[in-house]
């Protein structure tokens, strides 16, 4: 345990990443797809000698620059802060393994941002052909940012046997390319590329909806109709690439998809299935609305319609990203690290010597029983649960007596092969005394009394003195 625990009340720390990431993915994938859309549209305008299109594209590129260059970059940095605080062990593993990959990502990112600024500020200031070449350069560099980050993201779900065979030996980076081109790399790249192309179309419908149909009816119709075509590849190929992706996902993870078909258990039992349903209905609606409103009736297509499409796309993207994240359960890095940051290979040692033994932030395993209980909660439960909000332990422990809380924890600790919770929860590690302390803590939280209230103060005091001694 090398890092402090970051506890976010009510929504939990995981959702801090989730909220920033969904927003970021929606924009960054627009940056990639829109990067291709712009030079394609500009090439069309040049070939057909459409000055009205070029003027419209200049407006669109300003919108594109602001959305991707400002909101995209800020939220991207936000993800770094959030994952570093929420999943420090996993972030550390990724950095150790992919530092070269991330260096490439940053290099492409810098070129991408620079070319985008040049692209926007040189409209009608440099020869049209040269301007178009800058657009293609932007498209290429932004595509490379996807190609790289896709390797890192898919690694977390399917690191692959080659990397897992050296995990924890210090030689992980020797399997860089195996980890990068892992089993889900190519299907995921296909899916993300299709999503990028669709998002390029959806965002371009926003600027297209602003064209005044009274003044420029032909421009509005041709612009919107051409743009709606950008949703066709996704419509046709997405089911195939999704099927390919799922074939590459380990069977144990794929099973999470079907858990919710027949039940609505609490927590993650049925969450993946339910989220996938949202993704399906929102995606189908996007196709339907785009065809009937933007393609069939482009002149009546308004900003409200376009905004509704963006909202639906946000929901579809959010659901897709959440489903992908949930598919990793119970791991944060498949087969290597559990979702609470515990490495698979460290479980036995933690059970033997104690989970809190190496707690750098407390100096040593704290003496106070209540403090130990709370630290166990923060370290082993807090990544996915909160006390009173999202996946609330108050609610999950409600109605249980102390013995029942203990039985539940023992069940998670024993982690038998047929345990249903194994599908999405990590094992509970620690010595019997530590698990007992966690049981007391959880029980006291669900049944508040004087002892509970004092435990908070004790932990605060302990943390404060430990920090002072560290400094």
């Amino acid at each position: 345990m090398n890092y402090p625990f970051w506890e976010v009340p009510f929504i939990g720390s995981g959702w801090v990443i989730g909220i920033i990431a969904i927003f970021h993915v929606m924009i960054s994938q627009f940056a990639v797809g829109g990067g291709l859309w712009l030079p394609m549209a500009e090439r069309k305008a040049l070939r057909e000698g459409r000055q009205d299109w070029r003027e419209q594209l200049e407006k669109h590129s300003r919108f594109f620059l602001i959305i991707t260059g400002v909101f995209g970059t800020v939220s991207g940095v936000g993800i770094w802060f959030a994952i570093g605080l929420t999943q420090p062990e996993a972030t550390s593993t990724l950095i150790h393994n992919f530092v070269f990959g991330w260096a490439m990502e940053w290099a492409f990112f810098l070129v991408e941002l620079t070319t985008l600024a040049v692209y926007y500020y040189t409209w009608e200031r440099i020869p049209a052909r040269l301007h178009l070449r800058i657009g293609w350069l932007y498209a290429g560099t932004s595509l490379f940012t996807l190609i790289i980050i896709n390797g890192i993201l898919t690694f977390m779900l399917t690191p692959g046997a080659a990397w897992l065979s050296v995990a924890g030996t210090g030689a992980e980076s020797s399997r860089f390319w195996n980890a990068f081109f892992n089993p889900t790399y190519w299907p995921s790249l296909a899916m993300r590329t299709l999503v990028c192309i669709s998002l390029a179309g959806i965002w371009a419908l926003v600027t297209g909806s602003r064209i005044d149909a009274e003044k420029q009816p032909e421009l509005k119709s041709s612009y919107l109709r051409w743009t709606t075509m950008w949703l066709v590849p996704s419509f046709v190929l997405m089911p195939l690439s999704l099927g390919w992706y799922l074939l590459e996902v380990p069977q144990s993870q794929r099973a999470l998809l079907s858990l919710g078909i027949s039940t609505i258990g609490s927590g993650t039992f049925s969450q993946v299935t339910r989220i996938v349903l949202v993704m399906i209905i929102t995606s189908a609606t996007i196709i339907f609305v785009t065809y009937y409103l933007a393609y069939r009736n482009p002149k009546d297509f308004s900003l409200a319609h376009a905004s509704a499409l963006v909202l639906l796309a946000l929901m579809a993207t959010g659901s897709g990203e959440e489903a992908r994240e949930l598919l990793r359960k119970p791991y944060v890095i498949g087969g290597h690290m559990y979702s609470n940051g515990m490495r698979v290979r460290d479980v036995a040692a933690a059970n033997k010597n104690g989970y809190l033994r190496d707690n750098a932030w407390m100096g040593s395993s704290p003496d106070d029983h209540w403090v130990r209980g709370e630290l166990m909660y923060r370290g082993q439960c807090g990544s996915c649960h909160t006390l009173t909000g999202y996946r609330s332990l108050d609610k999950l422990m409600a109605g249980r007596d102390r013995e029942s809380v203990g039985s539940f924890l023992t069940m998670l600790h024993e982690y038998k092969p047929d345990l249903a919770y194994r599908k999405f929860m990590p094992p509970l590690t620690g010595t019997p005394e530590e698990i007992n302390a966690l049981g007391d803590y959880l029980y006291s939280q669900a049944n508040p009394g004087p002892a509970t209230r004092s435990s908070d103060n004790r932990l605060a005091a302990k943390t404060s003195s430990a920090n002072t001694s560290t400094h």
């Binding site: 027949s262 039940t263 609505i264 209905i281 929102t282 609305v289």
Partner: protein, 357 residues
Amino acid sequence: MASSLYEWIDERLGVTEAIAFARHKMVPVHAQSFWYYWGGISLFLFLVQIFTGILLLVYYRPGADAFESVRQITYVMHFGWLIRSAHSWSANLFIFAILVHMFSVYFMKAYRRPREVGWITGIGLLFLAAAFGFSGYLLPMDELSYFATKVGLGIPASLPVIGGPIATMLRGGPDVSQFTVQRFFALHVVVLPLLFLPLLGVHLWLVQKHGNAMPPSEEGKPVSARKTVPFFPNFMQKDLAMWLISLNILALLASVFPWDLGKQADALSPAPAGIHPEWYFMAPFHMLKILGNWLPGATGEVIGILLFTAGLGLWVVIPFYDAEHTTGRRSRFAHYFGLFAVASLILTTALGYWGIR
């Protein structure tokens, strides 16, 4: 092939004629046009109710097995939870949409001559929808629905002379039991639909006959300054878009917040804390509670029920009071009465939830 098939159908059903009629029908376009969609949204949600209700009917078993059958639907049948969840969410959204529709009709003064019957049938539909909600709520027979129904049926039971027999008849005995479930089931799937469907037919026919009413602000404009669009295809496309939005909201709610099932009802166990009626009954329930505090015992409940009935009576007859298309004293009074009704419903609902928080 397609055109000959169309001709075959058209010759028998007169599709072209119907389309020509729909194209001829015009819908006003103005700043308040948004409120025109709520009747259609209510209709859509009712259709969802029928569809999901029929699917639930395949597995639901009223009587002693009620809870077990709902447990199987929720935890065993493939996507049973989704159908049940969609049914429960759409029931709540249905009543919400009807309320929005009713108040928008009220404030746009769309109840005035010649639309009085449309107003009255609409209120009848709202009452039947509430009865659907009340009868359907008990059917899972879990702890919450059992005790909430018990409290709900306790209200008419407090009426002198007729209250007791009415409550006993509804319950099928002195207390809520499997016989009550049997009765409520018959009400929910046979009696109420038999009343609702013809009334809905009359309501829709009247909407078709009189068309969309213009709010007073539009009526004041010269005819040349008013904008309209054909019902078909322009308005209908937007109406369908609203249906699609409703479907998405419903799917989102049903999937992300699936309807839970509580513990099996046990008549011998104490009522769990915070038992309360569904949100659409919270306002009358809390009004009765307030009156009960002032006038304890049956007197408070009887006076409360009478006052509430009198208020509803006024609400129903408002088209006859404010019948003329003018902006006189009656029009203003009706407007203030509407504001008072909305404010008191929101306030008492909020107070009700505040009390059980």
